[in-house]
């Protein structure tokens, strides 16, 4: 029995065209796929999934420690022993989150410019602002996934490890909006700084090295210098610890001090001052990033 193969081939298209919204969504989806290594070779998946694994592992370890303490030392042991919990998680994992942003985020912008693919994007119904906002939103989404997933694991671990899970949920349900809000603060900050750095180079490696240097070096340097100098000047120097800036906001959201900011002189600033400083470091770079890409569309 033989069949007939019909080569339909190229045809004219008379269907719906969804316009600029679809274009933005396409850039967003593509950005998420790049960040997660989807549709690419195995090597592209190693980096993002390793980081997500490490972050989740931290959440899992915290949950296991708390669960073991509750079982060994009785109900309420987590709080009595002051074991790390939701309010501490972002402080503990901040460096890993920032490294994730430093290594992965530049890929969303650098490669398009290095390979000139952006020239094809900008002749579609899309402006430079549309492009950069969609890319920023794409990496923010990935960062939120990386930030929230371990907190969800931790919450499930803590509630299931508690001898009275319903009681635990009733007492700690506020942790959910808190870690969601704090996760947004962490992710928006790291995403914006990483994307801005990436906008200055076509090489991902250069952007990553610069960002790692910025995050890894400034934290111990400012901490040491702030403690040595002390006083108001020390407090201001402490404000330049880039990894601590969103963690201070995390502390305000939870109404608790995380282990990483416990010794930071910047804590002496008012809540408005710390939030204002965070907004300056997030909205400022965001505005510069937007301005750089807005120029691409005349």
């Amino acid at each position: 029995m033989s069949g007939t193969v019909f080569d339909i081939g190229y045809r004219s298209y008379t269907g719906v065209r969804e316009g600029r919204g679809r274009s933005r969504l396409a850039i967003f989806k593509n950005g998420v796929r790049i960040a997660m290594g989807m549709g690419r070779g195995g090597r592209a998946k190693i980096l993002p999934w390793t980081f997500i694994g490490i972050l989740s592992f931290i959440g899992l370890v915290l949950a296991l420690i708390a669960g073991a303490a509750e079982r060994l030392a009785g109900p309420g042991a987590t709080e009595q022993l002051n074991l790390p919990s939701h309010s501490d998680y972002y402080g503990i994992s901040s460096l890993v989150l920032f490294l994730f942003a430093a290594l992965v985020a530049p890929e969303l912008l650098c490669r398009d410019r290095r390979e000139n693919t952006i020239h094809l994007y900008l002749v579609r119904p899309l402006t430079g602002s549309d492009y950069v906002l969609a890319r920023w939103a794409a990496f923010l989404t990935v960062m939120l996934f990386a930030a929230w997933l371990p907190q969800v694991i931790l919450f499930l671990g803590l509630s299931m490890g508690d001898p009275a899970p319903a009681e635990y949920l009733r007492a700690h349900w506020l942790d959910i909006p808190r870690f969601l809000a704090s996760g947004i603060a962490m992710a928006a900050y790291a995403t914006t700084l990483a994307m801005l750095t990436a906008s200055f180079t076509t090489r991902r490696a250069y952007a990553s090295v610069f960002l790692i240097g910025l995050f890894v070096i400034t934290t111990p340097f400012t901490a040491g210098l702030a403690n040595e100098i002390g006083g108001k000047t020390g407090q201001w120097i402490s404000m330049f610890s880039l990894t601590n800036i969103p963690v201070h906001v995390n502390d305000l959201i939870f109404g608790d001090v995380s282990e990483i900011t416990e010794e930071a002189p910047a804590r002496a600033f008012s809540a408005a001052g710390l939030v204002g400083w965070y907004l300056l470091w997030t909205l400022g770079p965001g505005a510069i990033l937007w301005a750089r890409y807005r120029r691409l569309s005349p």
Binding site: D7, I8, G9, Y10, R11, S12, Y13, G15, V16, R17, E18, G19, R20, R22, S23, L25, A26, I27, K29, N30, G39, R40, G41, A44, R111, D112, E115, N116, T117, H119, L120, Y121, L122, V123, R124, P125, L126, T127, S297, P298
Partner: protein, 303 residues
């Protein structure tokens, strides 16, 4: 928009980069079909295309495509395609994924985008290779992907900037056939930019010639190429006498290296050449039709 209405209109279009004039008061219109924009490197072809696409703003004048200014109304770009001259393809993704993405970028729903990507890759001859990463493609295959991404969303008008750049003779032939087929079978109008006269002659209905940012020539390709026909006579001696003998017969001939060139000849010129050769006894080595080189054509100035 009717088929006779112009799809592209440039009015007194100028673009300056500081003291450098890329386009200088250029005006033309392009209707449906395949139009070639011809010029040497730096003539202003790519600048004109970028202005039409809305990637650059003109210093003065206006450029509209499908009745819109693409830098003011980005929606019109959903009906435009662009194949740039330079490398622009992502190396890590497959052609199928890339074309699907580009179709979505032009506003097509995802399921339609996937189907059209496959159809377009079949049209450009890459269907069998569609799941391979583009980074591993040959130059010819990459040119086909570039053409594919320009067509995947079924544009009304497509700009092709040097589509045969870097291709071997076979690849070039195939690319020009694809370009011609794109208009003939699918009704997509094309503006093909090239510095190769032969590419434009073979593919285009009309031609626009730019030089140093100015419009030099424009018109139907048939008329244009006829105008450029010459006959070359290679003679060892008595060249001056032959020129005079031809002039007496009403034929202008110019000394050209080891022979003479006669411009725009009609059929009767061969009889006059024969008579002039007999009269002067000039030793003829070779007589052959010759197309003027592009560089020579440009030297003629605005026509």
């Amino acid at each position: 928009m009717g088929s006779s209405e112009p799809l592209l209109v440039a009015r007194d279009l100028s673009k300056r980069y500081g003291r450098v004039v890329a386009l200088d008061g250029v005006g033309f219109s392009i209707s449906a079909g395949v139009t070639g924009i011809l010029g040497e490197n730096g003539a202003g072809k790519s600048t004109a295309i970028k202005i039409f696409l809305g990637l650059l703003r003109p210093t003065s004048g206006s450029a509209t495509v499908l009745g819109e200014n693409a830098s003011e109304n980005v929606r019109v770009r959903a009906r435009l395609g662009y194949m740039p001259e330079h490398d622009c393809l992502p190396s890590q993704v497959s052609a199928a994924e890339f074309l699907t993405h580009m179709a979505e970028l032009s506003g097509l729903p995802p399921s339609v985008a996937r189907t059209r990507a496959a159809d377009t890759l079949r049209h450009t001859g890459l269907f069998e290779e569609r799941y391979r990463a583009i980074g591993g493609y040959s130059t010819g295959m990459k040119q086909r992907v570039k053409l594919g991404q320009a067509l995947v969303h079924d544009p009304a008008f497509v700009f092709l900037d040097e589509p045969t750049a870097g291709l071997d003779p076979v690849g070039r032939e195939e690319m020009l056939t694809l370009v011609r087929k794109t208009h003939r079978e699918f009704g997509i109008s094309v503006l093909l930019s090239s510095h190769l006269m032969a590419d434009v002659e073979r593919t285009c209905d009309r031609i626009i010639v730019l030089r140093d940012g100015q419009l030099v020539q424009s018109g139907e390709v048939g008329h244009f190429t006829k105008e450029t026909e010459t006959v070359f006579l290679e003679v060892d001696t008595k060249r001056d006498e032959l020129v005079i003998a031809l002039r007496r017969r009403g034929i202008e001939a110019a000394l050209d290296g080891g022979g003479l060139t006669i411009e725009g000849p009609d059929e009767s010129v061969y009889d006059h050449v024969r008579d002039a050769l007999v009269e002067t006894q000039a030793p003829l080595r070779r007589m052959a039709p010759r197309r003027r080189a592009l560089a020579e054509l440009f030297e003629r100035g605005p026509g």
